[in-house]
């Protein structure tokens, strides 16, 4: 890792057997987890080759999740921006209202394949927790969701949803009491329970093979968008834009376009209140290479390797690390990473709702803010595809509070 790695062109043929995306990824976890990770990796390799598994996954996405969702031409948004034609990939129309369920359904199938009956998961705002609870209810698995005490207080609706679906929501009271501590606690649980428990990690982070598995299950987003764009416009998009926290919706969106060199890819991080440490969650913009949650990637940490505090208006982007494949795409310049502030995202949330009659998630509002900033500079022949990763119902409490309006 210390030798100078030659930066090459990004390819979709990653990771390698060691879980490396270029120099990023791999496994930096306690020995107790290594066997579980190898077992998961073996099982996943077999599942990939198993047509019956893939068929069942596709069928569940169709019948249970409601896929394919539309690639929708945003006519008034296009007119408002006055440049490129803008299309929305409608992940907000999935069951549970976000992209997270693509991954939890896939991993639930893996859980059953491994003969395990108990599932654990971490959640920040609760979207992945809900998507996991839904998948576990669908398959009849015991489900335990680790959630920071702070987040439980802020996300009562999602906590209620999870419990209604039979999941146990276990409060995390250590450290910062938020998402990163929930991941720590889920990993601790897993170390003691690997024999009968699968850990459904919610983003393209963590040790190999998670970044690969989550990307693969999420890449249905980009595959559909690519086919739909070709079918509807007879060409590929000029640019694809998605928000990046841990990076699962963006990885799923970008991955099928990686080898289409002419398609520009733009990842939008949470710029928070300012560029000052602790006030944003722009890991790829301001972070540096390091270790967090078992993977080597860009990370926000201090000079001693201690994880930094982060902030974003959007709980789903409020994470001090990022998936290793994103670091690889940054390093190879395949994806351009930028960031927008809390205020810009909040403004995009409101303007977009009025223009299109769609309430976007605050996460997705970051991608939309980037569209508002740049689509007007493109010409009318250009096509911009945005991943509308989730709907904004979960954010109305927070947004109304920020706008000083009573619900």
């Amino acid at each position: 890792m210390n030798q100078t790695d030659t930066v090459t062109t990004a390819t979709s043929a990653v990771p390698d057997d060691l879980g490396r995306f270029g120099e990023f990824g791999r496994r930096f976890v306690p020995e107790t987890l290594m066997h579980a990770l190898e077992q998961l990796n073996d099982e996943y390799q077999q599942a990939q080759q198993d047509e019956a598994f893939q068929q069942e996954f596709r069928e569940l996405l169709r019948q249970f999740v409601g896929r394919p969702n539309p690639l929708y031409f945003a006519e008034r948004l296009t007119k408002y921006c006055g440049g490129a034609r803008i299309f929305l990939k409608r992940e907000d129309l999935n069951h549970t209202g976000a992209h997270k369920i693509n991954n939890t359904i896939g991993q639930a199938l893996l859980t059953r394949r491994m003969g395990k009956q108990r599932v654990i998961a971490e959640t920040g705002a609760g979207q992945h927790g809900v998507a996991t609870a839904v998948a576990c209810a669908r398959f009849g698995f015991e489900c335990i969701v680790y959630m920071g005490e702070e987040d439980i207080r802020r996300q009562k609706l999602n906590v209620f949803n999870m419990r209604t679906m039979g999941a146990e929501v276990r409060p995390v009271t250590t450290g910062s009491r938020t998402l990163r501590d929930a991941i720590n606690d889920a990993m601790r649980d897993w170390m003691a329970t690997v024999e009968d428990t699968h850990y459904i990690l919610g983003s393209v982070v963590g040790p190999h093979p998670f970044p690969m598995i989550v990307r693969d299950f999420q890449s249905v987003i980009g595959r559909e968008a690519r086919e739909q764009c070709l079918a509807q416009t007879n060409r590929l998009p000029s640019e694809v834009i998605a928000c990046v926290g841990g990076g699962s919706n963006s990885a799923g969106m970008f991955y099928p376009f990686i080898d289409d060199q002419d398609v520009e890819l733009t990842g939008v991080e949470a710029g928070g209140r300012s560029d000052k440490p602790g006030e944003h969650a722009s890991t790829l913009t301001f972070g540096r290479k390091g270790i967090l949650h078992g993977t080597f990637s860009y990370v926000l940490q201090d000079d001693d390797g201690q994880t930094a505090d982060v902030h974003s208006i959007s709980a789903g982007l409020d994470y001090p690390g990022v998936g290793p494949e994103h670091s690889y795409w940054k390093e190879t310049s395949r994806v351009n990473y930028t960031h927008v502030t809390d205020d810009e995202a909040l403004e995009a949330f409101q303007t977009f709702a009025r223009l299109e009659g769609i309430l976007p998630a605050l996460e997705s509002s970051h991608a939309l803010a980037q569209v508002f900033k740049t689509a007007g500079q493109r010409n009318a022949d250009d096509i911009v595809v945005v991943c509308l990763s989730g709907r904004g119902d979960k954010d109305v409490n927070e947004v109304s509070r920020l706008l000083g309006q009573d619900l």
């Binding site: 306690p30 107790t32 967090l292």
Partner: protein, 272 residues
């Protein structure tokens, strides 16, 4: 470096007199480095054979609640890696039991593998345990450690399959840290029965001493390990004794002497 390491020598001496090693774990900087230094000196006086020094880390996934809480306390007090090194440097480490640093690879990588290892050696550590650097990722680190004369201790868990054990042992030195249970650090009442079988099997695979950790908290747990393990490690049970200090219910001196008494009771078992 063909010289026998201090860790190797320590275990060899104990084995020659048919004793087990007792290796307590202390969290560096809980509540400050002055206390940690006093604690190390007290443990030495009480006859412990090696001492593990934990570098507080913000996201210690292998650790249970007791050790994590101690890490949080130390970091909240502003502890830096440089403070730990300075504190250890002030000790007369040649006349103390070998000190082994327990440190996350997140910290080692940020400081720099070479620089961290060199500095650790310079201040007087005899070995390193990097719990989130599993054997197959450790070859580079093992090479650097060897170059500067530090042992790199590898961990083996109850879930480690035999073929992995053999790979892991290739980069190991000093001793093998045998994790007694699948799970995190923390006090448990009983050790699993499969542990002895794994230790006996490990014995056929390596000449390195075998030290057992995770879950050990009292002298009577030593008995079942006689003849199969070369040493026992106690962490959470000791770190927990520092909790009253942070809650201002006890003075640092009293807490350290309580730890000393506990260490003496352990040494009475391992050294008999």
């Amino acid at each position: 470096m063909s010289q026998i390491s201090r860790i190797t020598q320590t275990f060899a001496d104990l084995q020659a007199s048919n004793k087990m090693a007792f290796m307590p774990f202390v969290t560096a900087g809980d509540p400050d480095m002055a206390a940690t230094k006093a604690m190390i000196e007290e443990l030495s006086r009480r006859g412990v054979n090696l001492i593990e020094v934990g570098f507080p880390y913000s996201d210690p996934i292998a650790d249970g609640p007791v050790i994590q809480a101690s890490y949080t306390r130390a970091l909240d007090n502003g502890l830096k890696v440089a403070d730990i090194f300075l504190g250890i440097e002030e000790l007369d480490t040649d006349n103390l039991p070998p000190l082994v640093a327990m440190v996350s690879f997140a910290i080692v990588y940020r400081i720099g593998v070479e620089e961290f290892t060199r500095r650790a050696r310079q201040v007087g550590f005899a070995g390193l345990i990097v719990p989130d650097l599993p054997g197959d990722e450790a070859s580079e680190m093992a090479e650097v450690a060897k170059k500067v004369g530090l042992d790199l201790v590898e961990l083996v868990s109850p879930t480690t399959p035999p073929e992995r054990v053999e790979r892991i042992l290739q980069s190991a030195s000093g001793f093998v840290y045998c994790i007694s249970v699948a799970g995190t650090t923390g006090v448990r009442n009983e050790l699993p029965t499969a542990l002895n079988e794994q230790l006996e099997w490990l014995r056929t695979k390596t000449d390195l001493p075998l030290a057992v950790g995770f879950g050990i908290s009292q002298p009577d747990q030593v008995d079942v390990l006689w003849g199969v393990a070369d040493g026992v490690i106690v962490g959470s049970a000791i770190v927990r004794m520092m909790e009253p200090v942070s809650e201002s219910r006890q003075s640092v001196d009293d807490a350290i002497s309580a730890v000393g008494n506990f260490a003496a009771s352990m040494v009475a078992e391992t050294g008999k």
